[in-house]
Structures are given as structure tokens and as C-alpha cells.
Amino acid sequence: MATSDQLMFARRLGPTARLLIWLLIGVACVVADSRYHALDGLRDGFAALLRPLRETMRAPTDVAAELGGFFTRHRLLQNERDALLAERAQLAVGANGARQLARENAELRALLKLQARPGQQVVHAALLYQGHDWFAQRVTLDRGARDGLRDGLPVVDVSGLVGQLSRVYPESSEITLVSSPEQLTPVFVERTGQRGLAAGSGHGRVELRYMPTHADIRPGDRLLTSGIDRVYPAGIPVARVSRVTRPRSTPYLRVEGVPLAGLDRSRAVLVLVAEAPPAQAHTPEQPTQTHSSPAQTIPSQVTLP
């Protein structure tokens, strides 16, 4: 029995009780965030709080890159200039061709009464921070809703599709990379025009799902976005096929690819902002024009490049 100078009960909760309380709060947070998206305000707050820190901590690497660039040798610069001049000449030729093709394309579209592709506007953004999540590969950009970004917009770099905006804060935003697991991208094979669905497989790879075993696809084929989903414009390079195997267990080919964009290398990216939000599917004249369904417009866009 407790004597009069002993406390019958400890005044503070024991560690186990406190652990249980905090675990309950934690579970409540998980449910509130994942089911009801109730904590987006907190996320915005953290974003505003951490953005200056992220930009500050990026400064040392920027300075290092500047210094490295300053000490680049003269000869290297000359070589680079020569290469650039040659490339510019080539591009000028290409641009002429493209202008001609665009005019021809416009005429053909007018003939077919197809709607022109919505005008694209680009926002330049720089990579700020790479996340470390088990379930998705995310990268943070330094542009956000203030620059007109929205959820779901495609992000590209010089060589291909990087991913899709998945969370947008006022001053920054998060991309889910093409190679992130469960990230689906409708694509077509550049050589044959066959359509398919590329899914991220983690580890910086993508795989092409549900390709029948007789499909004509070889290592080295390029996969471009098909534009069938109206999220990605058609014709953005996504990946290059690296391996094709025929497993016995499934009726489908196992096609692996390496993303073309420098997912963990490139520091500057472009966000493609379509002018109109993708709500065109509900316009009244849409159902009457059977020709303008997305699946029908693809073949004409395939021949664009």
C-alpha cells in the first residue's frame, strides 16, 4: 500500500502512453492528408518556409558551376562555338523545312476540319531539390502557381519528357518523374506508330505495358508521347527501348526503356502550359464531329516530324 508521502499515481504520462497518443495523432494526420487532403495548407506553409532555405543551399553548387565555367579552357570554347555555328546552320535549314511543313499541315487540317493544337506556352523552371520517397520519385521546381502552373502539366527538358506536375504551391511545385512507379504515359513507337502505355518502374527506368508478343519493337526504338490523353502534347520523346524479352508466363512482351530526359542530371526544365484548361471534351459540337476524337487525330500528328 502507498504511504502518505508516496504518490499513488505518477503525474506525467509514461512514455508508452505518450507514444500511443502521438501515434494516434500521426495516423489522424495520414488519414486527413491522404483521404481528405485537409493538410494542404500546412504543406503550403512549409513550402513558403523552406523555399528561401532551398534557394540558399543551392547557391554553393551554382557558384561552383560558375567558377568551373569561368576556368573552361579557351580552346574548348572555340570548339563549342564552331559546333554551335554548324548546328545553327543545320537548324536554319530545318526551320525552313518546318515552316513549310507547318503551312502544309495547316492547310491539311483546314481540309480535314480538325481543330488546331492548343497554343503552348512554356515556363522556364530550375530544379531545386530531389525528394527521397519510397513510393514516388519527386523533384521540386522553383516555379509555382504564381507563374500559372497547375496540377497535371507536362514538364520537359532539352532531350525529352521529364514528368508531370503533381503538387503546386504558390512559389514552387513538385514533379512526379516519368520513371516513378505507377506514373503512366501514353506513348507510341516512333518507327511503327504503334501505341502503348509506358509506366515507370522505379530505378530510373520505364517499361512498356501490354504490348502483344507479335508487336514489332526492337531495342533502340524511340517512344514518343501519343497525345491521346490530352495531357501531353503529341511527339515529345519519352524513352529509348533498351531491352525486349518474351516471358513465358504472360501473353505480353516485356519491354524496358531508358528515359531520354536527364531525370537526375538536368537542372533546367520547361513546363508546357496549355492555354485553355483541358475541358474541351464537353463542348457541345464535339460528339457530332466523329473525326476529331483523339484517337483519329493521332495518325496525322504522327507524320508531323
Binding site: P15, T16, R18, L19, I21, W22, L23, I25, G26, V27, A28, C29, V30, A32, D33, S34, L39, L42, R43, F46, A47, L50, L53, R54, T56, M57, R58, P60, T61, L127, L128, Y129, Q130, G131, H132, D133, W134, F135, A136, R138, T140, R167, E174, D264, R265
Partner: protein, 166 residues
């Protein structure tokens, strides 16, 4: 280590290290460095829990865990729960950990940190890809009932009553 007569100094030191950890996490890590990057915030919180348990505890760990959740773009609560479990384990083993030299302390912390990583994985899995229905938990109830039946039956078999006679 502990300097109870200088509370302000200790607070300042704790705050400085946590801010330093946060800054280190903001560096643009990539590639192998990203894969190997330690969780500075977690290590900081666990260190101060070990040495200043009266100041740093569950609440701080939870808040810092929320910051880490934002940092990694994860669901809110994923790292917070893991950090809280970490604080509990460190408090549980505190007297034992304080006796060891740094090498043995690190060896003792390894399983704790491994547990925490699995906690992050488990919570994230439950939040992102929840299993179909919570019916998988129903056997817990039937198991308990089965236990009751077996234990009661065996006691009756041995000629004892169902209630304990004090």
C-alpha cells in the same frame, strides 16, 4: 553533457543543430549521394532525445517528422510516426545507450534506425496503396475469442473454476 544551470544555452545549441540538419537536407543531393544521404533531422532528434530527454521528446520529434514529410514529398505523418517511434525506442534504451562508447552506441542504434525505416515504409504503403478493406484485421477478434475458449476449457478440464479465487 547536460548543463542544467544554463537552460538558454542548451536550447540554443539544440535549435542550432536542428536548423543545421534542416539546411543540410536542403542541399541539392542527387545520384549516389542522394541514395546514401543520412536523415540528418532524424539523427539530430534522436541525439537530443538521448542527451536532453526533458527538452526534446515526442512533440518535437513529431513536428520535425512533419517537416521531413514535406521535405520528401510524402504523405503527412509518414516520417512523423517513425520519428515518434524512434524517440520511444531511444527513451526505452536510454540508460543502456548512455553506458556505451560511441562505437557500441552506433551498433545499438542500427536496429532502431532499421526499424524506423521499415515504419516509414509500412505507413507509406498503408497510406498510398491501402490494402483492400480492413477485413484482414477481423481474425484478431476471432483469435482472441478462440484463446478465451481454449484457456477456459483447459481450466475447466483441470477442475478449476473460470474465475480466479483471490
Amino acid at each position: 553533457m547536460s548543463t542544467p544551470h544554463q537552460p538558454a544555452g542548451v536550447w540554443r545549441r539544440i535549435l542550432m543543430t536542428l536548423i543545421l540538419a534542416l539546411l543540410l537536407e536542403q542541399l541539392p543531393w542527387s545520384g549516389w549521394a542522394l541514395a546514401l544521404r543520412p536523415d540528418f533531422l532524424l539523427v539530430g532528434v534522436l541525439y537530443w532525445t538521448l542527451h536532453q530527454p526533458a527538452r526534446i521528446g515526442f512533440g518535437t520529434a513529431f513536428f520535425v517528422g512533419l517537416l521531413a514529410d514535406f521535405q520528401h514529398g510524402a504523405v503527412f505523418g509518414q516520417h512523423a510516426i517513425a520519428y515518434v517511434i524512434g524517440v520511444y525506442l531511444v527513451l526505452f534504451l536510454r540508460l543502456r545507450l548512455l553506458q556505451f562508447d560511441p562505437l557500441r552506441q552506433a551498433a545499438q542504434l542500427f536496429p532502431i534506425l532499421l526499424t524506423l525505416q521499415f515504419a516509414v515504409l509500412l505507413v507509406g504503403w498503408l497510406a498510398v496503396r491501402p490494402p483492400s478493406g480492413l477485413a484482414i484485421l477481423l481474425p484478431v477478434i476471432s483469435n482472441t475469442v478462440l484463446w478465451l475458449l481454449i484457456a477456459g476449457w483447459l481450466r475447466l478440464w483441470h477442475g478449476k473454476g473460470l474465475q480466479d479465487r483471490a
